[in-house]
């Protein structure tokens, strides 16, 4: 009796452990690396980029592109994604999604549906970077065949990281950051914009990787400005620069100031620290931002004697002025042109002075226009590179 019952028990357990309903083997799924969302007459045009494993890691690589793209229209994003099954032999699998590219027009109109879907879905991770396609269709960016990185979506993501580490703060905005910025009263989101530079039609073919200089390249250049969860404009290069200073997300970058008509002074930032403070003046909050920037001399285009301490001090103060001016300019632009607080001054007030914030938060955008911000900067030059004196003087004399 006991043996029979044990036998039955084993059979039941074995049967129930053989597998799971929803199992998907690797050869049954398509790994999606990029998702592009464009507007269409029906609603949305979805394009997904599928990695072709054989072309990425295979021993013999053919000239074929190592990613494929599928597109489908639908009334909603979810519907369009499911409609893709009519074209794809394998089910789309989104856990390895590297980037979501959203068309500018969709971002101007309504992005909330996208955010809801992406956060609700169990496959898409909250740390996917989100990028806006400027001037081009989102799918064009995903389509460009690229050098160096095999998969176009990966190229977009890595360019963002590289730029963040070495040029300005792209502050690669992930899905979760975007949600937090949108949901918070005191800050408006900003997303990085990507465009295709060059010939888009050429960019789609593998010919793009055959030449040394590609006919088409993906470029991440601009910051978008959002207000009330809708995209309202783009920062130009100066404003982007000032924005990077204000949010203090610079890891390593170059500061450039012209010294005469053609030449410039350049400093390489290697440490950029920001201190924020909020004080109350006559019942109104005033935001104080102090920069502490440590630099190396990078490139000197004019004659300046770096052996002399006074000259170094002078150089430092030139850059201090530059940073301060640039930041003020950006704030002014944000207050007048966009009336949108993308820096997060509201959040600073919220954190420091929660009581004052309660009165302001209902109508923060209009209060933001009259916000007083005081900026101070301290630039330190640590060393002049490998050269002690001034190269230019040696040559000219």
């Amino acid at each position: 009796m006991k043996k029979v019952s044990i036998f039955l028990f084993i059979i039941i357990i074995t049967l129930s452990l053989t597998g799971c309903w929803g199992k998907k083997e690797l050869d049954e799924i398509s790994l999606i690396s990029g998702l592009a969302i464009d507007p269409s007459e029906k609603g949305y045009l979805i394009s997904v980029q599928v990695m072709v494993p054989g072309e990425i890691t295979g021993e013999t690589r053919s000239a074929a592109s190592n990613a494929r793209m599928f597109s489908e229209e639908g009334e909603s994003i979810f519907q369009a994604i499911r409609k893709l099954t009519m074209k794809m032999p394998r089910k789309a699998y989104f856990t390895h999604l590297m980037v979501i590219i959203i068309n500018e027009e969709v971002a101007k109109d309504n992005m909330l549906e996208i955010i809801d879907l992406c956060l609700r879905d169990t496959e898409i991770r909250p740390d996917v970077p989100i990028i806006i396609s400027k001037d081009d269709m989102a799918r064009d960016i995903l389509k460009s065949v690229t050098h160096i990185e095999n998969i176009p979506a990966n190229k977009v993501k890595k360019t963002g990281t590289n730029m963040n580490e070495n040029w300005t703060a792209t502050k690669t905005i992930t899905l979760l950051n975007l949600f937090n910025a949108m949901a918070s009263d005191g800050v408006n989101p900003t997303l990085i914009g990507a465009t295709v530079v060059g010939d888009e039609k050429e960019g789609e073919t593998t010919k793009n990787v055959e030449d040394i200089e590609s006919p088409a390249m993906i470029e991440l250049r601009y910051f978008s400005v959002f207000k009330n969860n809708k995209l309202i404009g783009w920062l130009d290069e100066d404003e982007s620069r000032g924005y990077s200073y204000l949010i203090g997300e610079i890891h390593s970058s170059i500061m450039t100031v012209p010294c005469d008509e053609y030449n410039t002074y350049n400093l390489e930032i290697y440490s950029f620290k920001t201190k924020e403070d909020v004080k109350i003046k006559e019942g109104k909050p005033v935001v104080y931002i102090d920069y502490y920037i440590v630099t190396n001399v990078g490139e000197i285009g004019c004659s300046i004697n770096l052996k002399n301490m006074d000259e170094v001090k002078k150089l430092e103060s030139i850059f201090e002025e530059e940073v301060i001016e640039n930041s003020y300019y950006t704030i002014e632009q944000l207050q007048i042109k966009y009336q949108s607080d993308i820096v997060g001054f509201g959040e600073m007030i919220h954190r420091k002075e929660p009581k004052i914030w309660k009165a302001l938060k209902e109508d923060w955008d209009s209060h933001f226009e009259n916000l007083e911000v005081v900026i101070d900067a301290k630039v330190k030059i640590r060393r002049p590179g490998t050269i002690r004196g001034q190269i230019i003087d040696e040559i000219i004399k």
Binding site: C20, T95, L119, T122, P126, D127, L176, E347, H350
Partner: protein, 367 residues
């Protein structure tokens, strides 16, 4: 009651795992926003007070299981009614925890599997555990205790990934103490701290009874520290707004971990670590329920009740709640008021009052 002895260390590990079950998964105190961790610390203190109350009951009846104690203190009729209600309470709590387990697995691991299959598999483990008895359960808890430091590793993993923002913790006490206290009482004080009332069924097995309560306090402090750390980790990683929205915020945090593009996508592992605690919790409830039934019906062996307990918990967890919305509403809104408060605070207080009065008369009769 079975004949068994457990050590203080085993009691400690069992209590810590029990305390972290489910509670570490759900965003406890989400209504207090960025102050959720303060709410948990206050709940921790309330939990210690509650445990001292249970300790008083245990001190007066150190050799009888709680169901027996209720009958002894409150007499034949009222005592038996309340004892039976306690058994239902234990079974109901087990169904809630099992539902958490099933929802977690269905959401993140086996998305297309039927709930019943997951339930049967989980309950089979529970059934086997209670069949082997409390000594085996305790030995299991000693091994499974490794998941507790692992939980804390997630917090450090999130910090190491560079995705955390300590500014999310500010401003502290934005809306004063009221939202914090509202989150603490009755939700956090009862879940997981007040739930320790079930350990009145386990304390009699401890070999050094006089130190049982002290160990319990230590376990509650551990639970409080781990929960606070996890909550702070969640707040600084995904932010208080997301915690309010997410069903399992802790898993969302684990999803975000990405150390140097090398250690990433570890939510599968995190589901298992958090599941271990929830399983321990179900096992303790199911065990207490079958022991309770055995004591209540004065039968010889608690193992007679394993199959009924198995069926009640399994079917109860699936059919009492229609969907996740109902489950969260019931679990986080109704249960703390209408189930936890009476069974974890009011009835124990009533018992203590009766015990004090009885002791008073006993003393007077002696002289």
């Amino acid at each position: 009651m079975e004949k068994a002895k457990i050590s203080l260390l085993q009691l400690y590990t069992l209590m810590v795992l029990f305390g972290l079950g489910s509670s570490s998964l759900l965003g406890l105190g989400a209504s207090a926003k960025q102050d959720a961790w303060i709410a948990i610390l206050i709940g921790n203190i309330a939990g210690m007070v509650l445990l001292l109350l249970y300790g008083y009951i245990f001190k007066n009846y150190p050799d009888s299981s709680f169901i027996e104690t209720v009958e002894l203190v409150l007499g034949k009729i009222i005592g038996r009614v309340i004892a039976f209600l306690y058994i239902i309470y234990l079974l109901y709590k087990a169904t809630l925890v099992l539902r958490d387990i099933m929802e977690l697995i269905l959401l993140y691991v086996l998305t297309a599997t039927h709930m019943l299959v997951v339930g049967i598999l989980a309950m089979t483990v529970v059934l086997y555990a209670i069949f082997l008895g409390i000594e085996t359960i305790c030995r299991f808890s000693q091994i499974a205790f490794i998941t507790v430091p692992m939980k804390m590793l997630y917090v450090f993993g999130a910090i190491a990934s560079g995705i955390t923002d300590f500014n999310h913790l500010k401003p502290v006490l934005e809306n004063g103490w009221m939202p914090v206290l509202n989150a603490t009482f009755p939700l956090i004080s009862s879940f997981p701290f007040g739930e320790m009332v079930v350990f009145l069924m386990v304390f009699p097995y401890v070999n050094k009874k006089e130190k049982a309560i002290k160990t319990g306090i230590l376990a509650i402090i551990t639970v409080g520290i781990v929960l606070t750390l996890i909550t702070i980790g969640n707040i600084i990683t995904i932010g208080p707004l997301m915690i309010e929205l997410a069903i399992f915020p802790t898993i969302q945090t684990a999803k975000m971990i990405n150390i140097m593009d090398f250690i990433q996508r570890i939510e599968g592992l995190s589901v298992i670590t958090f599941l271990t605690c929830s399983m321990t919790k179900t096992i303790v409830y199911a065990y207490a329920a079958s022991i309770g039934l055995n004591v209540f019906f004065k039968s010889k062996n608690y193992r007679y009740y394993i199959i009924p307990v198995f069926l009640v918990i399994l079917l109860g967890s699936i059919y009492t709640e229609y969907n996740m919305t109902v489950h969260l509403f019931v679990g986080l809104r109704l249960v703390p008021f209408f189930v936890n408060t009476p069974f974890e605070v009011i009835i124990p207080l009533l018992l203590i009052t009766v015990i004090i009065i009885k002791n008073f008369f006993k003393k007077r009769n002696q002289y």
